[in-house]
Symmetry: C2
Subunit: 384 residues, 2 copies
């Protein structure tokens, strides 16, 4: 069975994601929740803004009192008071009355619109000349215009960007439930690898993958735990994998571009308790030698050894699994796609999906041209 390849197209692989559940949740201060993933559905406990507010400096009025007013034929209203910022007005407006109001203050009873200061003139302390008619609702935010009480404000699984943080602040959510960050263990295999601080001997190279993949894991919102460089040796790799399985939620083994190393990784996975190899080979390029296994409840991925291939497989295949496991909802995880025309023909093998690095160039007609970046997949500079 050693050579048996469970080669799988990408869409079938993604069907495996829901089988892994999500990380746990915790409650944190809203101040510490930015860019985290919401672990509860948030319903508005109140209307927002909660009361009708002026959006301009001016005069609160009954709109009907201004109907027909113009520069040549102004309306005259009686100023009956002044509304202060942050206070509930005690006055109530009748037809023909007006009250001074600053931007953001609460509309008094009876008022349904605001006349801007620019379109009015105080003739004396109690007489206002209005040069422009306003319709009901002009320069006013209604009490439930932002959000209505008891409606769903944010869905579970939403990414808390600054605007979601603002909405939660508006709803008074000082504490909020978020998903914990998954811990991702990173193992680099290969007899040719040396620590980056060491000058590599001839035939050896520095361990780029640990650093690159750690950075990708952190950028994806998870914690990266490095297990260092492991030689191409069954016992050493098994020991590192066992430790990573017990300490982290997901394990990424990178290396194994050669058949020998890949077979070794497969042997190690099979030797782990409660393990099952779900995928051995993907119909994508780069990324064909990708391995995906379940070890108990943990995910173990074997990534290609070439750093750029590993990056592409992480971005296109592993990251969606990590996001799903992190609690991110599919709608929040959706990425923006930009259509573009290829500047030259690229051929692909039948039944294979190719991921090609391109440089996007904006044309004068507003469309994008995608210029493929040529270069062998081992060259990190093609990604920079």
């Amino acid at each position: 069975m050693k050579g048996f390849f469970k080669v799988m197209p990408l869409e079938r692989v993604f069907e495996l994601a829901p089988g892994f559940g999500t990380v746990g949740t915790k409650t944190v201060a809203l101040m510490d929740a930015d860019l985290r993933i919401l672990a509860e559905a948030v319903t508005a406990p109140c209307d927002l803004p909660g009361f009708s507010r002026s959006t301009m400096d001016g005069y609160a009025v009954q709109a009907a009192s201004t109907f027909g007013a113009s520069q040549s034929n102004p309306a005259y209203l009686e100023i009956t008071g002044e509304i202060l910022m942050g206070e509930a007005p005690e006055i109530k407006l009748n037809p023909g009355e007006a009250a001074r109001i600053p931007t953001g203050a609460m509309l008094p009873g009876g008022a349904d619109a605001v006349v801007m200061i620019e379109y009015s003139e105080e003739l004396d302390a109690t007489t206002l000349e209005v040069h422009k008619a306003v319709a009901p609702g002009t320069h006013v935010v209604e009490k439930d215009e932002d959000i209505k009480k008891n409606t769903l404000a944010l869905k579970k699984g939403a990414r808390l960007r600054p605007q979601e943080i603002g909405l939660l602040a508006a709803l008074g959510r000082e504490q909020i439930a978020i998903f914990k960050k998954p811990k991702v263990g990173i193992i680099s295999t290969g007899d040719e690898l040396t620590d980056i601080a060491t000058l590599p001997a001839p035939g050896r190279i520095r361990d780029i993958n640990t650093h690159t993949i750690s950075a990708m894991v952190k950028t994806a919102g998870a914690k990266a735990v490095s297990y260092g460089i492991v030689p191409d040796d069954f016992e050493a790799l098994r020991k590192a994998c066992e430790r990573a399985v017990s300490e982290t939620d997901m394990i990424l083994v990178s290396g194994g571009s050669s058949v020998g190393t890949r077979d070794l990784t497969m042997d190690v996975i099979r030797s782990l308790p409660c393990s099952e190899i779900l995928v051995h080979g993907l119909t994508i390029s780069p990324g064909k030698p990708t391995i995906f296994a379940r070890v108990g409840e943990k995910q173990l991925w074997g990534l290609p050894g070439h750093v750029t291939s590993a990056m592409i497989v992480f971005d296109r295949v592993v990251r969606p699994f990590l996001e799903s496991f992190s609690g991110l909802s599919p709608s929040s995880a959706r990425r923006f796609r930009i259509p573009a025309r290829l500047s030259r023909n690229i051929s692909s093998a039948q039944g294979r999906v190719d991921f090609i690095r391109v440089r996007l160039v904006l044309e004068d007609d507003g469309t994008f041209i995608a210029e493929p970046i040529l270069g062998k997949s081992g060259l990190i500079r093609t990604m920079v």
Copy 2:
């Protein structure tokens, strides 16, 4: 001079950015440098990968020994050895010779190409049948193909994404100089504001801006320091500003949508030592009442009180200043622009730049339609 408005178009405002220098730098472990900004120009101290490597499992050969080989007319080579991963080969190939080589291993002297295992057959321990000719360089990464010794690998001011981290790892940069994160002080002004944990009394609203702007500051790669809510009072605001100026690099005062509060902010700025108001009013919408001042070497911004206006001004005006101050180079700061057609006409005042929130919809022909999101600028939901 109180009412004097230094209204400025946006492009002239950006010309002020270089006048503020950058934050200091520090050296950190590469593992902790992800998404930070590089504070040194990095030159390659060596060729990368440093030696010619095989990119396939197969046989190192002299390409000329395979010329003319095909399925029906194979070439026969003598297997003179096996190259191990991570070792400098001791053998040297002559014409007509081949050596077993795994992916990633170093090419032996004399070899200039690799024949894939799929296109060859070992007839016996020393005889290789080759079914396909290879050109020099086939399945080989040359010793300086990724980067040449002494060439510039990364420019100062580059954002260290995973790929830049990978390149630095490849160059052996275990320690790297990065710019420190600027500290941004956030002050919310307004008599109508209450802490988000408190149920607002009628006429009052929760302080959304501190939370939203803090999250934006953190998303932009800086540290947010909150100075809480300050009432519309000269002494209180002056004290908060003084403290923020002494403790942080940039101060954001939000609030002041009403003329009264804006005048107060202006008075407070004028009262601070070594202060100069650079901008009072921008020809943009939203964001007209934006204030920009220098206080000694520090930047002080007065943002609009409406949270969505404040977000837009932060994103379009303040963030570029923050990035410049953070050391980010203009080329790394460049944002991706997507051309789109508006779904309906929008009018703008003469000489004013309008920022309109839109929803992008991808059409069948590959172009984007931008649907304006209508809603008053105070509504946080229009941003979600």
